[in-house]
Amino acid sequence: MKDSMAKADSGSASGEVGPAGAAGGGEAVAAAAPGDLAKAAELGARVKLPVAARGKIFEWAVYGATGACIAIIAGLFIELLANSWLSISTFGLSFLWTSEWNPVTNQFGALPFIYGTIVSSAIAILLASITGVMAGAFLAEFSPPRLAEPLSFVIELLAAVPSVVYGLWGLFVLGPVMRDYIEPFLQRYFGFLPIFAGTIYGVGMLTAGVILAIMIVPTVTAISRDVMRAVPNSQREAIWALGANRWQGFRMVVLPIARPGIFAACILALGRALGETIATTMVIGNRPAIAASLFAPGYTISSVIANEFTEATSQVYLSALLELGLLLFIISVIVNGLARLLLWTIFRPMES
């Protein structure tokens, strides 16, 4: 039916030229099936469907796309649940707080991985949110426009570097720097804190956190810059007219207005840190143990899945890895859910 409509109309519209025709044709092509597209191209005509039909097709497409997203998420969850059922029924809830991970005896517990994932991501978001928000503020508010453009480009370029490159760099450059300079420095002055005590390896939780921070800092920077730029200029002028300098205006007006957006930027970045696999795997040390020291090696959920998936020989081993995947999925949902909740309860009342 769609086909016949397109054909019928293409005849009448074939003589049409100019921007209006082109725009109409573009819409119809976007909404139509690939078959129609080919035919339209063949005829060399600009396809134009009746307005009502275009609206209907668009409506279906919107419903379809939304439905597909929901179906994918639901399917993912069900599939993960089904495949990890063996592990769930074998270990029960104690899977969550058991530290032993022994493929030889088929004893599996997820605690070190949950710990490693959360701690490395927490370090990353702590470092990246401070750095990213400051960089975003500089680009949006304080730097001369001529400097802001190239700087923004370079920072966004950081987001385009493949994570395996970060991993490699982390292993060969950042790791030794951490081992020889940064970690000894921290130990010397803050060694009384258990998190900075113990043997220094170079690879470990802190290095993984720093690599993750570097990877997510462009996200935080770019989004916080955009939300700060979106603050109307009339607001800045209003506070300047009261006798505020640039810094005061930023702190009293721009930052509070941009805060929910900055918060959202951090959550988005945290989501990336939680799921990041390759770079973390290369620098975290891959030892399933919980240590008080951030210098000690650790392990994350995504790293263990990536490392051991191919060598999971027994059913229960494979199932335990899938349950880890399910856990990561749930952690991400919880983090995002909490963030939403926070956005609604804390920031909403100020807006109206």
């Binding site: 506070i239 100020m350 807006e351």
Partner: protein, 266 residues
Amino acid sequence: MTEQEERGRRASGMSDKLAARHFSAYFGQLRAIHDVNLTFPANVVTAIIGPSGCGKSTLVRCLNRMHEVVPGARTEGEVLLDGEDIYAPEIDPVQVRRRIGMVFQKPTPFPTMSIEDNVSAGLRLNGAALKRPERDRIVERSLRQAALWEEVKDRLRRPGASLSGGQQQRLCVARALAVEPEVLLMDEPCSALDPISTARIEELLFELKARYTIVLVTHNMQQAARTADLTAFLYGGDLIEFGNTRQIFTTPARRETEDYITGRFG
């Protein structure tokens, strides 16, 4: 020009609070204000009228150095506040703006602040932390001066953006008054308001001029006729005529002024 100024001064019988001397303003290459000489006597409402794009907003923004926050904007000439040039190199524009307050065309309450925080926003800029009772006193005084106190006294903690448009504009007036400026610049303060709110702002001008020097930019000639003691007519970046409001509106000296006030253009 000096003859016009003289007429303005004589009409007011007051001392000059603020004065522009051979003042020009630019946006990049474009000269928006051409060599303007204009005095604003103390405790007087001076209206600046003229058609859209004549430079009246630009001129008023130059009076508290807000023009220069626009990229590419620059100025020539002097603006004297109590005889001292605010464009002198050693003068900090931030300090100038504390002495010369401003109310903008559209109400701009700070959306993340409560009504009382909006009013006291300027007080927090000085670095010295005010004690709570002192701050409350200033908030009340400023809101009373802006004729808003009775309407908001029971909801000072509510967001400033929860007020109506007219109330928001009076909140902005209160906010500007809280820092006790010497001059109050109002850039078409009623253009986004309904007639009732406009009337309230106009009443306010009468009360405020006892304490402040007021410069009112308006595209509404009736408003200038109702509220201003002196009126300056600006056209194409030039000051065409300046004098007593009644004289400007009844017996304008210049042809352009007459054409504008009789509605022949603009």
